[in-house]
Each structure stands twice: as C-alpha cells, then as structure tokens.
C-alpha cells in the first residue's frame, strides 16, 4: 500500500484513540460536576420572598437565589421550581430548551440559581395558555381544567443562566 494511504490510516487510528481518551475524560467530568449553564457570577443570594413581594422593583435585574428544588420539568428538564424562604411561595427558574437540562433526581436538593427576573402581566387567556403548557410539561394535561386558572395575573420567573445543585 502506498505511503500516503498508510499515513492516513495511522492518522485515523490515532484519532480514534484520542477520541476514546477524550470521551473517557468527558465522562469523568460529567460524574463530578453538578453545575449547569454558565458559571455563577454573584456571591450574595437574594431571598425569593423579596422578589415576590415587589416583583416590579426586581424586573430585569440579575439575581442569585437559593432554595429547595420542589419541581422539575418532566418533559425536557428545562425549568425547576424553587421554594421560597417564606412558606407556601416558590419561583420558577426557566431556561431555554437544551441550554441546561435538570434531572428529575434534583428534586428535594438545594440549588443556587442565577438569572434575570422577568415580570409579565398575563391576561386570563394568556394565564390559561401558560398553565396548559406547564400541565403538558408535568404530564397532567389530561386532567387540566382551564376553569381553575385565575387571571389576569402577574407572572414572575427567573430567566436562568447558571445553577449549582448541591
């Protein structure tokens, strides 16, 4: 066989070995990491209750929040619901599909999550549409009852950029 073809074959074999080593390194990194998305940049956490008390004051601001993960998007892992420091309150941390994927196993763990506060006024129709989408992601669309959705409402959520699940 001519030398150039032999060289090419050797290159391909070397590439194969490198690829396998890289994959092994990657798998080790996967096992050790519990960070999602971009690295956290803020040090001090803002209480979720402060954001929910006066959402308009926080609209568009970058914040770091800390709390218990009480729900994870079943369909794509593209959002988590974080318990507030105040009883019976929570905040949804939403990311674009594929940017971060939270595993269902994260439920019940504590998260540090950084993102931008988004406040939207929803008409009743918009609130129903959003609730329907959430029901779809929860896998409860069959039992979804639009009559139970209140509106108009002010929707507050964190547009997620990075998170660390502890």
């Amino acid at each position: 066989m001519c030398p150039s073809i032999t060289t090419t074959m050797n290159l391909v074999r070397t590439a194969a070995l490198t690829l396998a080593l890289v994959a092994l390194t990657a798998s080790t990194a996967i096992a050790q990491s519990k960070d999602y998305g971009k690295a956290l940049t803020l040090k001090d956490a803002t209480p979720i209750s402060s954001i929910l008390k006066d959402p308009a004051a926080w609209d568009g601001k970058r914040v770091l929040v800390e709390g218990l993960i009480i729900e994870v998007c079943e369909e794509r892992g593209c959002w988590i619901r974080i318990a507030s420091d105040k009883a019976f309150e929570s905040l949804r941390f939403k990311v674009d599909d594929g940017v971060m994927t939270f595993p269902q196993e994260a439920k019940g763990k504590t998260v540090l999550a950084e993102g931008v506060v988004k406040v939207k006024s929803l008409t009743r129709e918009q609130a129903v549409a959003q609730a329907r989408e959430v029901a779809k992601e929860r896998g409860t669309l069959a039992s979804f009852d639009p009559a139970k959705v209140k509106g108009p409402v002010t929707d507050v959520q964190l547009s997620g950029e990075g998170a660390r699940v502890k």
């Binding site: 066989m1 001519c2 030398p3 150039s4 073809i5 090419t8 074959m9 391909v12 074999r13 590439a15 194969a16 690829l19 890289v22 994959a23 390194t25 990657a26 798998s27 990194a29 996967i30 990491s33 218990l68 009480i70 079943e74 369909e75 794509r76 892992g77 318990a83 009883a87 019976f88 929570s90 594929g98 994927t101 595993p103 269902q104 196993e105 439920k107 019940g108 763990k109 504590t110 896998g139």
Partner: protein, 200 residues
C-alpha cells in the same frame, strides 16, 4: 465479474501511488468503523426523542395512591415525623416542603410523597430513569456540554466525511455517475420536498 486477487494487486501496483478515490475508500472504511457506536446510539435516541410528545424518553414516571390517618396541622418537623411514621418509611426524607397549608411533600430520591394533611390521602410519585436510553439521550442532546461538545462536533464532521467519501467508493454504473447519482438526488429531494410543502 470480480477480478482475481492477483490482478487487483497488479492493478494497484501499476496504478497511481494514491488517488482521491482510494483515499475516499480508506477514510470511508475507517471513519465508518469509528462512527458505528455513536451512530447507533444517536439513532436510537433520535427515535426516542422524536416522540417526546407521546412518552417520556428519559424517565418512567408512575403515580400510586394510598391513605394514612389524617395529620393535624402542626409545626413542619412534627408533621414530617408523623407522616414518615404513618407511611412506615424507614428513613427520614432528604427534604420536605409545603406548597400550601394542607399539603406536605416528602422528597426521597426517586420518590416524592404528596400528603394531603386533612384527608390523609397520599400520592406517591415515582420517577425512575430509563436505563441506557436515558444515558443515550443525555449524550445525544449534549447535556454534558464542555468536552462532549467537541466530541459531538468531531462526530458530526465524521458523518459529513462519511457522506462525501461514500459518494466516491464505487465507480461505474453503481457509482455517483450512475445509480448512485439518482439515489443521492432522491435523498436530497426528500427533505427539500418536505420543506417546500410543509414548512415554507
């Protein structure tokens, strides 16, 4: 008819030291072997996530219902202890939460207990990963990010190389100038047709 082995060796010896076609064959063969595992993995995952609207390709989620004696509203730790005892659970939960005054949630790894305190009705939600398929989906959808992004890029480049070199593996009536050309055109028309009629 297939040429005798000695003739083929003679052809190689008399032919050019290298040619684009010979390079294509070697690349197609060796990259093909390299790409087998990931192609099968991505193919299986692709079918699974295509139907995400109808089923969860990552987790088996099930719900079962049971009933315990009602729990009087009290401090959260006291209600958790009572719920754990009445459910006959052997360990305390990883954590707990009350989404509203009447509901208590107990988090146990793959299981979450939703206790309706006044009635004692309990929904046990179990979320178990689909072994192998879940891992394949994680790789296919690039959940690990970091180094895997570059591995996946290399794999995508390998697929492009496989496609291009594959065009020149055969020559003659079954090659790109013959039947291969028509099949290649048909393969290109399929996505083009869908785009024209369904997406435009």
């Amino acid at each position: 008819m297939t040429a005798p082995v000695d003739d083929r060796r003679a052809d190689r010896a008399n032919g050019p030291r290298w040619s684009w076609r010979r390079l294509s064959i070697v690349l197609h063969r060796d990259i093909g072997y390299l790409a087998v595992a990931l192609t099968i993995a991505y193919g299986i995952s692709g079918i699974a996530v295509n139907h995400i609207a109808d089923w969860n390709p990552n987790y088996k989620i099930s719900k079962r219902f049971t009933t315990i004696a009602p729990i009087a509203l009290d401090s959260a730790p006291a209600m958790v202890d009572l719920a754990v005892a009445r459910l006959a659970l052997t360990e305390p939960p990883r954590s707990s939460y009350q989404p509203d005054p009447q509901t208590l949630q107990l988090f146990y790894g793959e299981q979450v207990y939703h206790v309706d305190l006044p009635s004692g009705k309990v929904m046990v939600e179990s979320t178990v990963p689909r072994r192998v398929l879940h891992e394949l989906n994680q790789l296919h959808l690039n959940e690990p990010k970091r180094v895997w992004t570059y591995v996946a890029d290399l794999y995508a480049l390998s697929l492009i190389l496989l496609a291009v070199t594959g065009l020149f593996v055969l020559k003659g009536k079954y090659g790109i100038t013959g039947r291969g050309g028509w099949l290649t055109a048909a393969g290109a028309l399929l996505p083009l047709g869908f785009w024209l009629f369904y997406l435009r």
